[in-house]
């Protein structure tokens, strides 16, 4: 089965949203998904994209399943005061029936190429500590756990706290 990795297009957003919802459903957190494919389209393919996306697609030769997406990598550019330009990998997902065929690795390869081409010196991401399979996969690729090694914790100021800090009386 031939797989090609290509940049996502506006037309992929319905399918992308489907895969995003698949992940949420698997975690039984579907009600935490607040956006839809229209928002995804505007935010990714409007004048000022807030994210980048690569998709893994079945190659054209497989005519009966042409255009079938098997996975995606959603990421964006950020900045580190230590090293400057970085990539933050938000999601890397391969549909379960297509796993074990090196698609995830192909997606990572392409993300790494994009990162380097843009002058980025680092790629960051978070993994849940209970996700043993993902932890093992990233570790064997050479990723360092900064939470374990350096005590770095991810912290969030949510909607309510933001409004309070903004001083808008809520």
């Amino acid at each position: 089965m031939e797989c090609i990795i290509r940049p996502a297009q506006s037309a992929d957003c319905d399918h992308l949203m489907g895969m995003i919802r698949e992940i949420a459903e698997y975690h039984k957190l579907l009600d935490e998904v607040k956006i839809n494919s229209q928002v995804l389209r505007v935010d990714g393919f409007g004048g000022d994209p807030f994210y980048q996306c690569l998709v893994a697609e079945l190659a054209r030769e497989q005519e009966n399943k042409q255009g079938h997406l098997m996975g995606y990598a959603l990421f964006f550019f950020g900045y580190s005061v230590n090293t400057g330009r970085i990539v933050y990998l938000e999601n890397l997902y391969v549909v379960s029936e297509f796993r074990g065929r090196g698609i995830g690795k192909k997606l990572m390869t392409e993300v790494a190429k994009v990162a380097l081409a843009r002058g980025c010196a680092e790629l960051k991401f978070t993994v849940a500590e209970w996700n043993g399979r993902a932890l093992a996969w990233y570790r064997q690729l050479g990723a360092q756990d900064k939470t374990e090694a350096g005590g770095w914790h991810c912290v969030e100021l949510g909607g309510e706290a933001l409004h309070r800090l903004a001083g808008d009386g809520r």
């Binding site: 933050y88 980025c120 849940a128």
Partner: protein, 190 residues
């Protein structure tokens, strides 16, 4: 009487931003390694050679923050220079950028936030956080994310007091990193 001004950074602020970044990273390095056997306090003087040393230059900051597609945004805190009307000096800053969560959309990510020690306790930090929150709300961000070293208790308390949630402790999220060497290896398809 303390008076200060918070404003968006401008290209000519880059040398001062770099100065503050270096102070800030030095402090963060102490926090990160203070729990490690490897840290030797005398090496503060040789901090430039530490693994966490700042590799950024003024040119990087200029290109990356004030080009066509900025990688970051900055708020600056300045106070009037003593005895020099119309002149001011930069005493704090916050560096942020926008990130994306496929479940909730846009987020504001706070990369760094530093106020020089002599100027703390004047409300500069609170005012910067207020402005950041306003920016987040105006740009339709669901929340603000950032990283804190868990051993930096004053920092943790500062944020928790303001309603922050430690996602690593509460939900088990670990931050991972691929450095440049890894990226090169992955890009070659190894």
């Amino acid at each position: 009487m303390s008076c200060f001004r918070i404003r968006p950074a401008e290209p000519q602020d880059c040398p001062e931003i770099l100065r503050l970044i270096k102070y800030s990273v030095k402090t963060a390095t102490i926090d990160e390694t203070s729990n490690s056997n490897l840290f030797i306090r005398q090496e503060l003087a040789a901090y430039e050679n530490m693994p966490n040393a700042v590799k950024l230059t003024e040119k990087d900051l200029l290109e990356d923050g004030f080009g066509e597609h900025p990688f970051y945004h900055c708020l600056i805190a300045e106070v009037p220079k003593e005895g020099q009307t119309g002149s001011s000096c930069i005493v704090g800053y916050a560096m942020y950028y926008f990130t994306y969560d496929p479940w909730i959309g846009k987020l504001l990510y706070l990369e760094d936030f530093y106020v020089m020690e002599p100027y703390r306790g004047l409300g500069i930090g609170s005012e910067i956080l207020k402005r950041l929150s306003q920016i987040a709300i105006k740009t339709n961000c669901s929340c603000m994310h950032f990283l804190v070293v868990i051993w930096n208790k004053p920092s943790i308390e500062y944020y928790v007091r303001r309603g922050a949630l430690d996602l690593s402790t509460e939900e088990g999220w670990h931050l991972f990193r691929f450095d440049k060497e890894n990226l090169l290896r992955m890009a070659s398809g190894e």
